[in-house]
């Protein structure tokens, strides 16, 4: 056993050294590179999409199709976890906290909602976006479940509602993409299809980007809280 461990450790070290040796002189080789694509994004991104946050511009406009794929990955992950965790033999962990905890959690939940939706709706203006906002919204459900628990009888209904919401978010993403096709352009077209881009820096600007952000936020929030709900059950 120990020999095996030493052997695999040595093998890993050898591979690491090989990697370092191979990749060491990579930086010297790329002087002749033309990063015209990233330069184009930096120079033209705001004019093209009217989204000040360039990351969002690339994520939801230039490469929106990748984002659809990434959102699908989370969708599948939630689906798989709810498929693989068994329903029948489970109960929720229930803890007794001091009143301080209940009071504080109840107090901050509205603020968390505001923060989450702020991240989503201002995704094209400031750091954040659908993914980050969705995670913040999911933490609300996580907090509420940990402190107050979920009534066992209602668990199925809650999960179904969340799954429906998740499906709605995903379908909404595709349907917003289809709007581009309806107006005679290609899938996920935004500025090209003549949608109102507005003025860079205003809340209502950047065409479909805020809506895509909203759909992603709904989807990510629902998915992560489904994952949490499924994993938190304790098998008796």
């Amino acid at each position: 056993m120990t020999f095996k461990k030493v052997y695999s450790l040595g093998l890993i070290f050898l591979l690491g050294i090989l990697l370092v040796v191979t990749f060491m002189n990579f930086n010297q080789n790329n002087f002749n590179n033309n990063y015209d694509l990233s330069e184009y994004y930096i120079n033209q991104g705001v004019q093209d999409t009217k989204s000040i946050n360039l990351v969002t511009a690339i994520l939801f406009d230039y490469r929106g199709f990748d984002t659809l794929g990434e959102a699908t990955v989370i969708f599948i992950a939630a689906l798989i976890i709810s498929l693989l965790t068994k329903r029948s033999t489970s109960s929720l962990v229930y803890n007794n906290f001091s009143p301080l905890v209940y009071q504080n959690i109840s107090f901050i939940v509205p603020f968390l909602y505001i923060f989450g939706f702020y991240l989503i709706f201002y995704g094209h203006l400031s750091p954040g976006g659908g993914f980050a906002g969705g995670v913040v919204i999911a933490t609300i459900f996580v907090l509420l479940t940990i402190t107050f628990g979920v009534r066992r009888t209602r668990e199925e209904d809650v999960l179904r509602a969340k799954s429906l919401l998740e499906n709605l978010g995903m379908a909404g993403f595709v349907i917003i993409g289809l709007l581009g096709m309806v107006s005679g352009y290609n899938f996920l077209a935004n500025g090209q299809a003549g949608f109102y881009l507005g003025e860079a820096g205003k809340l209502i600007s950047a065409g479909t980007i805020p809506w895509l952000n909203l759909m992603t936020g709904i989807k990510v929030g629902a998915s992560l809280s489904i994952i949490f709900n499924c994993l938190v059950r304790e098998v008796e």
């Binding site: 990579f26 230039y62 659809l68 990955v73 595709v174 581009g180 290609n186």
Partner: protein, 490 residues
Amino acid sequence: MNEMIWLIIGPLLIAFSLLAINLYLKKIYNWIIISSSILTFILSCSLFRKVLIKPLAYSLGSWEMTKGINLVADPLAGILIVTVALLNLLIIIYSLAYIEKNISKYYTLLFVLTAALNGMILTGDLFNLFVCVEIVSIVSYALVAFRRNHKAYEASFKYIIIGTVGGFFVLLAIILTYHQTGTLNLAQLVVRSSDISKVVKSGIISLFLIGFGSKFALVPLHTWLPDAHPAAPASISALLSGIVIKGYLYAWLRTLLILSNPSEIIASNLNLILIYSGVITLLVGHFLAYQQQSLKRLLAYSSISQIGYIMIGIGTLTKQGMSGGIFHIINHALVKSALFLAAGIFSEKIKAKKIKSLVGIGYKTPLVALGFTIAAITLIGLPPFNIFISKWLIALAAIKAGFIIPAGAILLGSILALSYYLKVIKAIYTKKKENYKIININWRLKIPVITLTSLCLIIGLAPNILLPKLGQAVRYLLKSKEYYQILFTG
């Protein structure tokens, strides 16, 4: 109407609305599934017809071709899309009678898998390719664990570990490619790949080979496959063996021939690696298949060996060998799905999982057993069927290119396949009792098996339906300049 984008978002939309349909429109649930997969098949055929005349490109978001993500369809992509859609349709018909638990989630996963496979085949962007590859992988992990027993969990876990590590290799290769060329667009890479220095390029290509190789079960990266494919439900094993590993193979082939052209590959002796890894894969697969007692495991090892044939065909880097390899991809997809689906009927309806317990099945379910036998004979490579032609093409191309040992290995492999498939066929038609009672089997289970085996016969008797189109498909692979011209004409 643009078929390319609908082939991806159509199945996705169906997948996202299945839950709501299951809750509120339960009566028409089956109809929606069937009709949408028929529609996908029609769309794919229409795309194939268009692509044969002229390859198509589609820019997502209406951006300029260099700024956003593109979908590109050349004849090779078209032919694979039709295979995916056909198998998907047949497997959905089969599943309607086969899957009993968690129906809604099963079909959701299946439609996402179809969409991602179509995306993987059609995409013209390296990172988008990675996203689609990961979706296909994650869905396959889930579908392997679908039965929720210990064996399935173990197989799925093994698959996750190897598949994810393979995925990291692919991602690292993509990062390096972007770092060196500043673009992810496959067509642009055709031109810019000449900027990459030789050392770095060989690094990138070997990373791609290891990453995708672990996903399409190249020996010695194949260890997950013999566990994963048998553990899944039969319909899923058919899909995984039939098209999912072929999809990875296609993705690897596309990236390889875009990053470097055939003369470069031959100059760096990479073709020797491809051909001899093919030979090793072929022999290991066949020898291990020979030892198996369980029918589905035997079929899984046989899938590994078929990857070997395809690798030899690709490794010759000639038009003949390449089109033989691609012909083999399609033939094997049809045959292996038929075999797995028939094996599923045997194991579910007659509870026969071991080869020993297959005795007398030929008299209990005459039609399905006949289908299985024909498919097995096809896979061995006997003359009137389609696999004979593709193996013949590959062997001829190997001899022409001067690879005598690989050509001999193809012959040896066929003899080995004969030995173990005859064992199965013999068990099927052994008569222990005088009168066997014929077991009633749902027509939904029978139709896919019969369709697939008759397709093997049709393609075997009239290979000229496909072969000229394959020649056309290979052109865009071997001359990547022409792939460039699909996007940037002139």
